[in-house]
């Protein structure tokens, strides 16, 4: 049982990273559908750096950097040239899957040592929850830290307020003299960084090897998760555990011969997201207060 819960927690880590990053980008009004591509770039870079330097912490760094750089490609087109965000995001995913496959070709079949667990003294000895919550690798702690930081940033800081304002009405923000594109560039880059970290977690912790397309749709789940969380950071945690739990449940279910087919379980995140979309659309007050009104809309300053 404890092993099961632990797996659920680990599975949700990459989702938390990627979804938190995407949430920030979307809150600034940018819909970047390239999460899957950025995660793959993060994953392959993390694996490559870890094999080259023999140090998984270099892998974390490389993954984050690769994610941010991939996001910069998106920014160049979708922000700099105001290309359609949906299509640009898709292009990024296709490009990222391809390039990660190319970069990773020499590494297929290799393995690396994963991140060590860092037990937090004293707390780890607490009965029942001690080992579950306080004996993890650094990225697992980091994911929670980043999520809390983002929640604090968005709701408590001025920069976070500016970011939300840009996502709510880029014309008003522009009229007040805020640099809309700069804010969005920052948000998209952060999103890429986070997606890169989420991707890096896969070869560093979950499966210590590289294979093409190893994110297996987690980028899309992260996108769904942002909507499922209705753009509220704290709900990302709940959603990620839920979505991660579903993934694990089907594996466990298969082993125990459950009658519910695993595919039906896997569908749940997507179906839940659609239901949330409908609920948001029906609740005017909630939609106005939380969903970024400018999501996906082009901003061109000199008409």
């Amino acid at each position: 049982m404890e092993a099961l819960i632990l797996t659920v927690l680990l599975t949700s880590v990459p989702l938390i990273f990627a979804a938190t990053g995407e949430l920030v980008a979307e809150r600034s009004g940018v819909l970047n559908l390239g999460v899957e591509g950025m995660m793959l770039m993060g994953a392959v870079s993390a694996f490559a750096a870890t094999s080259i330097f023999g140090n998984p912490y270099m892998g974390i760094l490389a993954g984050a950097l690769a994610g941010a750089m991939t996001a910069a490609v998106f920014s160049l087109f979708a922000l700099g040239l105001a290309t359609n965000q949906v299509a640009t995001g898709l292009a990024l995913t296709i490009f990222g899957s391809g390039l990660s496959g190319l970069v990773g070709a020499p590494y297929v079949g290799g393995t690396v040592d994963g991140l060590p667990n860092l037990a937090i003294p004293i707390l780890v000895d607490v009965p029942i929850i001690g080992n579950l919550l306080f004996n993890h690798d650094i990225m697992a702690y980091l994911s929670i830290g980043v999520l809390m930081l983002v929640a604090w940033f968005l709701n408590r800081t001025r920069a976070g307020l500016v970011l939300r304002a840009v996502g709510n009405s880029h014309d008003s923000a522009h009229a007040l003299g805020y640099r809309v594109l700069l804010v969005r560039f920052g948000a998209v880059s952060f999103g890429g960084l986070m997606a890169g970290l989420g991707g890096a977690y896969l070869p560093l912790m979950l499966t210590p090897h590289w294979s093409e397309g190893m994110t297996a749709g987690r980028g899309w789940i992260a996108l769904a998760l942002v909507v499922f969380a209705s753009w509220i950071p704290s709900r990302i945690l709940i959603g990620a555990l839920l979505f991660g739990g579903i993934t694990i449940m089907q594996l466990a279910g298969q082993a125990r011969g459950w009658t519910v087919p695993s595919q039906m379980l896997s569908m749940l995140p997507y179906i839940a997201t659609i239901i949330v979309l409908v609920l948001i659309a029906r609740n005017r007050d909630f939609a106005l207060a939380n969903s970024p009104a400018c999501l996906g809309r082009l901003f061109i300053s000199n008409k």
Binding site: L31, L33, G37, V73, F77, G80, L81, A82, T83, N84, V86, A87, T88, L90, A91, L92, T93, I94, F95, G96, S97, G98, L99, S100, G101, L102, V103, G104, A105, V108, E212, G213, G217, W220, L223, A224, V227, P261, Q263, M264, S266, M267, Y270, I271, T273, I274, L277, V278, A281, R282, G296, I300, S301, N302, K303
Partner: protein
């Protein structure tokens, strides 16, 4: 600082030049990336773009590869022209395959004369049904069709996975996730040309794809239906002023795209696989988006764009064999191509200047 002003007039030469420049830049950037990673640029270019079409039968295979792309992209052109962002063609394609598969597997004794039309019809209905979910939710609740159609793609992929591993699995498949083979009447035959015989895998579905694209071109440019779609996409207020119903147009274009994608799914299975399997589509629904853009949202252009992108896809297969690259590497070209096309679209529509002069004593003469 980039400053953009809309062009009042778009010259035809620019319209035709943009895709050509985009392709050229894609090759240049792609080769640079391959070179940086230590692959011989010449070899990779040759493998990707020349080797796959160096024999006549390979030309046939190119058309076969392009077939689902052309059909799906033709439908998507209608959506994108109407400014409806259906990015779930992949799911609609899968449902087309499922519906037609149900017909093929349940009525294997029917003659081709009745089985084939029934399968075509079923596939179109299947695709439409799946497309109606995002369409109706958008019309009724104003939900975002991008996200809904995307989510449904994964639901569809999981659904067919369940079918072929569960209730529809052939008991004689030795545990493989496959249905029974379709009866011969449910298979699309290869074209038997006089003198040369069959040309690679070239089958009758390809003819259907070409006809469909041409028909799509006619509908879009010459009928009131196409006119409505274009007006709604370009200027929705003018569309309402003209008396067109925005909701009907949304539902209509989603039905067209869904139906086309469904048909593509049926053809792909009946011509190339002969039975349902977990992967009936290899991202055709997403790749078709690139095709639609490369074609500049013109159904006739879709034929050429489909062939070009299919070439890159075949190139991926060749690269896997000849250079030991993973198949997904073709995505490098596809991704860059889409980037370049989107950027080209912007250069097409706007005058872009990079920096305003510090002092500008430009007097505005008349």
């Amino acid at each position: 600082m980039i400053s953009m002003t809309p062009r009042k007039h778009i010259p035809l030469s620019l319209t035709l030049l943009t895709p050509a420049v985009a392709i050229f830049l894609t090759l240049a950037v792609g080769v640079a990336i391959f070179g940086l990673l230590g692959f011989s640029p010449f070899d990779s270019l040759y493998t990707f773009f020349v080797a796959p079409i160096s024999r006549p039968d390979q030309i046939g295979d190119l058309f076969v590869k392009a077939c689902p792309l052309i059909i799906t992209a033709t439908g998507l052109v209608f959506c994108f022209r109407a400014n409806v962002w259906n990015i779930g063609a992949e799911g609609q394609l899968i449902f087309g395959a499922i519906f037609s598969g149900w017909v093929a597997l349940n009525f294997p004794d029917w003659p081709a004369m009745s089985l084939m039309p029934a399968m075509v019809l079923a596939s179109i209905i299947g695709g439409i049904c799946w497309a109606m979910i995002p369409a109706l939710l958008k019309v009724r609740f104003n939900t975002n069709e991008i996200l809904v159609s995307l989510m449904l793609t994964y639901v569809a992929a999981l659904f067919i996975d369940w079918l072929v591993r569960g209730p529809w699995r052939d008991p004689m498949s030795f545990g493989f996730p496959l249905t029974k083979m379709y009866s011969d009447a449910g298979l699309i035959q290869r074209i038997d040309l006089p003198i040369v015989g069959t040309l690679g895998q070239l089958h009758w579905g390809v003819i259907g794809a070409l006809l469909l694209a041409v028909a799509g071109g006619f509908v879009l440019s010459r009928t009131i239906l196409g006119f409505q779609i274009k007006v709604m996409g370009d200027a929705p207020r003018a569309g309402q002023f003209a008396g067109f119903e925005p909701h009907l147009v949304t539902i209509g274009v989603m039905a067209i795209a869904g139906g086309a994608a469904g048909l593509a799914g049926m053809i792909e299975v009946s011509a190339s696989m002969g039975q349902l399997q977990p992967n009936v589509s290899f991202g055709y629904g997403f790749t078709a988006i690139i095709v639609a853009f490369l074609a500049r949202l013109n159904p006739i252009g879709v034929i050429f764009a489909g062939l070009i992108v299919a070439l890159a896809e075949l190139g991926g297969d060749y690269a896997q064999i000849a250079l030991g690259m993973p198949k997904v590497v073709t995505g490098v070209f596809k991704g860059i191509l889409l980037f370049m096309l989107l950027a080209g679209e912007i250069f097409n529509r706007y005058h872009i200047t990079w920096r305003r002069p510090a002092v500008m004593p430009v007097s505005k003469g008349r």
